[in-house]
Amino acid sequence: MRIAVCIKQVPDTSEIRIDPVKHTLIRDGVPAIVNPYDKNAVETAIQLKEKHGGEVVVITMGLPSAKKALRECIALGCDRAYLVTDRAFGGADTYATSYTLAAALQKLGPFDLIFCGKQAIDGDTGQTGSSISAHLGVLQLTYALRVELEKDTVRVHREVDEGTMVLEAKTPALITVGKDINVPRYLSLRAKLDSYRADIGELHRDDLPDIDETKIGLQGSPTRVKKTFTPDKTKNGIRIDGVGSATAAQGLFEYLSDKGFV
């Protein structure tokens, strides 16, 4: 069993603040973390390895600083880690990113299963996993709540608005997971220390000779950001403070009646 996990290093968006004067993101001092859903993906892969044997390879695309995220995954139990990094890959949108990651997976593969988090908390597109599978031409089983494997048959509980689809397919497949699938294990201090010595492989443009130049980086990205802005949602609404609960409830009841809700 060969399993790959694609992860992303992201800023912890719950720590991001807006500069009140310049209306821009304050990124300084915001911790870089492994995207939380990707940690669920790593946990799923490691659990399968523990049960069925084999190897888990973790990859990410990004700057050299993303090696820290890969080391964390090694410490959690991944066997090997690769950083896909090159100036030529910079500025990629989801199309170019997923194309590049697919090329890297092809180079390192074949894999029986590929796992991704369902979305990254910085971009929140939820497109990369699915797009990687499309580039690779393997089937996709997304939003998995449960993954079971029996030889080359994988069974996935897939979450949709109306309920859960229980799906079955043959490997190879790409599976995306959310946080409901498991609780990622804690890092042991020992494993964390050991991971500092782990080798992190690098894949550059030249290591992927078959890659199509027109599909990578900023130039290969069909979408472009035209502008960014910070949303201003402030309203000057009615504010009730310092009155008793009964009075507050009565006031709210009258407000809702006036608006026609009651």
Binding site: D161, V166, R224, T228, G237
Partner: protein
Amino acid sequence: MEFKDYQNIWVYVETFENKPKSVGLELLGQARKLADELGEKVCAVVMCEDASGAAKEAVAYGADTVYVLENPEYAFFDVEKQSCAFVKLIDKYKPSAVFIGATNNGRDLGSRTAVRKQTGLTADCTGLAVDEESGNIAYTRPAFGGNLMATILCADTRPQMGTVRPGAFKKGEPDYERSGEIIREEISLPDETSVVKLLEFIKAQTTGTVAIEDADIIVSGGRGLKEGKNFDIIEQLAEALGGAVGASRAAVDAGWIPHIHQVGQTGKTVSPKLYIACGISGAVQHLAGMSSSDVIVAINSDPNASIFDVADYGIVGDLFEIVPALTRAIHRTKEG
């Protein structure tokens, strides 16, 4: 690629048990506005087992043309089958833009189709407009947990694809007198198009009677409820108002209520007529999912909670007293 060959705005109308989901109808209204601005048509795409009802709805909500693909194979969503058919349909009719609801199914369909068409897709948008300079679709979407908005163009490839958050646009009033053209398409899928088998479908159990994405009134609870069992008072108020129960990420992460009730950047975007936030601090990620509601009421004991910034009516107070008192007052009116 000849751009002038690519015309009209398409909306994928996702169905469940042959009924159109709300997001597709929401998108038809916005597509109508943009198409009128561009002098183009709005076309809906419906793929299900029996599309007769959904096709009529699509016309009533603004479609000029409905492409209908009826096949028992589409009874349940299978991304491989649907994207295969969708690509063939795009190749045949060449739309300029394609809008898809950003449900789990829609996101899968969007990315697989965009990759196959080698075109750009802007995911999880909350704004759709025509870019004045270029005439392209300007897709606006939140990022960084709703802290930043980005407007994105797909200028050099067609179709310009986008997935749009359910609830980002309000559903228009249907006009069942409107006429539209319904075109039945026969697209044969190769036998081995998909090797994914659906073994079983387990329907979701929801708290309350209404799904939050369809509700006119939502009562939501957050960390301020302190314990899962305290969602009872939220449910009772929602029931009295005939609304649905929502929740913040904190409440869902604490395991107090299932994820399908979550409102916010990583949950659902809603824009009901009334949103009552109880014990919700108003993290940016929550605001990203509800700030376009018509009337927002906030009840929180913390006078500095950010939820008060977006509230039309804010009460600094004890939700454990105020919420049940409001529920009782509503019941008294009904009885009286």
